[in-house]
């Protein structure tokens, strides 16, 4: 019922910088210049990117200090029951 999880799109990924300190500019440049990869949002440690699955997975091999993981969604927790099969 609640606490559901579903992958919304395999083309949106989170890139999180794992090493101490700030994101290296050369890494950012490489990500920005990767063909077919678009940066949707940026925070001090992370990027939300959209693009071709294979291109983004390729970045994973190039950027050893970065975590690359798909965007997923969760719903607001709720303990209320719902009808799954309405009767006629």
């Amino acid at each position: 019922m609640d606490f559901r999880e579903s992958k919304i799109s395999m083309s949106r990924y989170i890139l999180r910088y794992k090493a101490p300190g700030t994101k290296p500019q050369q890494d950012l440049l490489r990500i920005r210049e990767a063909a077919g990869v678009k940066i949707l949002d940026e925070s001090p440690r992370m990027l939300l990117v959209e693009g071709d699955d294979e291109k983004i997975k390729g970045l994973r091999n190039d950027l050893s200090d970065w975590l690359v993981t798909p965007e997923v969604q969760i719903s607001v927790p709720d303990t209320r029951y719902r009808i799954k099969r309405p009767i006629e």
Partner: protein, 501 residues
């Protein structure tokens, strides 16, 4: 008598694979088990450290300061966590072939007897008889397959459940209330067109379970402790809530709009730190705590994504929150949130997470992470009205310490559970300056967060520690040593962990 059930675990540092913490004499490989300090004990019955349940035997070690393979009981895992907070305990996992699941045909829905006419119910306020809008009626003809009818009352309090029938025999009937009221629950009942139901009004002078347990806390409980609520946002104009700051982390929305997108976050925040006084207001567990609102659920959107949640954790750490409350979760492990939670732990911020509401299923993510405190939910008969929705949450096991207490039917459980909290029939603050009753591990989690805030406010030496993992470990230990086992399941920590604060 059978001995304790021993399991194998991998012991490792919280970060990396080699660390001086692994040199602790307890973690030296040995043929004989070593005793662990007993940090949790049943009411009045302190167990001997010689009991096998409180012992650890390290079977193998890759390096002196590296990973170890150990054998111990699940109960001993909790004691080790308290004794050596810097050590992660990971169950040994065995893989099997990915066999294709078999699909089964769902049973056909049986339709009830037909008649000309409609099936309408009326929902009113008890006492005044005022029609209630917004009550949701869920009528199960077959609860096992979740078959039935549902509808929501209109301004006249009327709910149209179906046409071409005038009565229905039900397995279960739930009436979920609008703000300000308790709901209704019945089993094995029959409803007919024209039936009316009256919902009791929430009387703030009557203590719910939260107030029964923590209503005696002083007004300054939790002072000096900053609590980040990662949720649907907190109401900024409720008279019982004071929000010190926060941020909206929903990508694409105004970062300064950290007010509510739904009820949930305001309810959670009120449980931690509402500062009202009955009978006109509601008080939380730690009214003196500083509330920070980190909204991750967008307006008109039911879902939050892991990017926004990870950003919210980072922001709470940047804002120097001492505690983070996450009454949210999903099924699978998510590395982005895990990294953020780990970074928070390293920065001296303790995360407290709800185990999830999937009806005794395994603990959800992120509550299952080693770096957080996972909270299950319990209820107590007599703290909610007879026939209220909460009656349907009563399920075994009951507590040895108090036979009225039960682990909520909806609560997820597992060896990751660190503590249990009150989560059935909890009255708290909601937007529009109102109050509502909600149940869930979402409610148990902030009750525990509030308790930890109250504990920490009494120990300024811990709050003043440098913001690193030692601080977080000290917070964890300060909380766990205060817990009292309720005895929901002897020798099984999966229900309550260390117990109740």
């Amino acid at each position: 008598m059978a001995g304790p059930k021993l399991q194998q675990f991998i012991l490792m540092p919280r970060r990396g694979v080699r660390d001086p913490v692994m040199l602790n004499p307890l973690l030296l490989p040995d043929q004989q088990p070593k005793p662990l300090a007993v940090m949790a004990f049943a009411r009045g019955v302190r167990r001997s450290v010689r009991e096998p349940t409180h012992q650890i035997r390290v079977i193998h070690s890759i390096h002196e300061d590296g990973l170890k393979l150990a054998e111990m009981s699940p109960e001993a895992v909790f004691n080790l966590r308290t004794t050596l907070p810097g050590v992660r305990v990971v169950p040994v996992v065995y893989y099997r072939t990915a066999q294709r699941p078999r699909f089964e045909v769902a049973t056909a829905v049986k339709t009830a007897g037909r008649a000309t006419g409609d099936l309408k119910l009326t929902i009113k306020a008890a006492g005044s008889g005022t029609p209630l809008a917004g009550a949701k009626v869920v009528a199960f003809t077959d609860f096992a397959t979740r078959a039935g009818l549902e509808g929501t009352s209109n301004a006249r309090g009327s709910v149209l459940l179906g046409r071409n029938r005038t009565s229905l025999t039900l397995d279960r009937l739930y009436i979920y209330p609008p703000h300000g009221y308790w709901g209704y629950y019945a089993e094995n009942t029959r409803i007919s067109d024209g039936d009316g139901f009256e919902l009791p009004i929430i009387d703030l002078s009557v203590p719910d379970l939260l107030t029964t347990l923590y209503g005696g806390h002083p007004r300054d409980a939790g002072s000096g402790v900053k609590v980040g609520i990662i949720d649907t946002g907190i109401s900024r104009d409720h008279p019982d809530l004071k929000v010190a700051g926060g941020k909206n982390l929903v990508t694409g929305e105004d970062p300064n709009d950290f007010g509510p997108s739904a009820d949930h976050g305001s309810h959670v925040a009120g449980i931690v730190a509402a500062h009202g006084t009955a009978p006109t207001g509601k008080r939380g567990v730690a009214p003196g705590a500083t509330l920070m609102s980190y909204r991750v659920f967008g307006h008109g959107v039911e879902n939050a994504n892991n990017y926004d949640i990870a950003r919210a954790i980072d922001q709470a750490v940047a804002d120097q929150c001492d505690l983070i409350n996450m009454s949210l979760g999903g099924g699978g492990r998510d590395p982005a949130v895990e990294e953020a939670v780990n970074a928070a732990y390293q920065a001296g911020t303790l995360s407290i997470c709800a185990t999830g509401n999937d009806y005794r299923q395994p603990v959800s993510f992120p509550a299952r992470l080693q770096q957080v405190l996972a909270v299950s939910a319990f209820g107590q008969r007599g703290t909610f009205p007879d026939k209220s929705v909460e009656t349907g949450d009563i399920e075994k096991p009951f507590a040895a310490a108090n036979k009225e207490r039960f682990i909520a039917a909806f609560s997820n459980i597992g060896q990751e559970v660190a503590l249990t909290g009150p989560g059935v029939g909890i009255v708290s603050t909601v937007p529009e300056k109102d109050y509502a009753v909600l149940s869930g591990t979402s409610m148990a989690c902030p009750a525990v967060t509030g308790c930890i805030a109250a504990i920490l406010s009494q120990q300024p030496n811990l709050l003043q520690m440098p913001r690193d993992q030692s601080r977080t470990a000290a917070f964890t230990k300060a909380a766990l040593v205060k817990a009292i086992l309720q005895g929901f399941a002897p020798d099984d920590a999966s229900m309550e962990g260390h117990g109740l604060l």
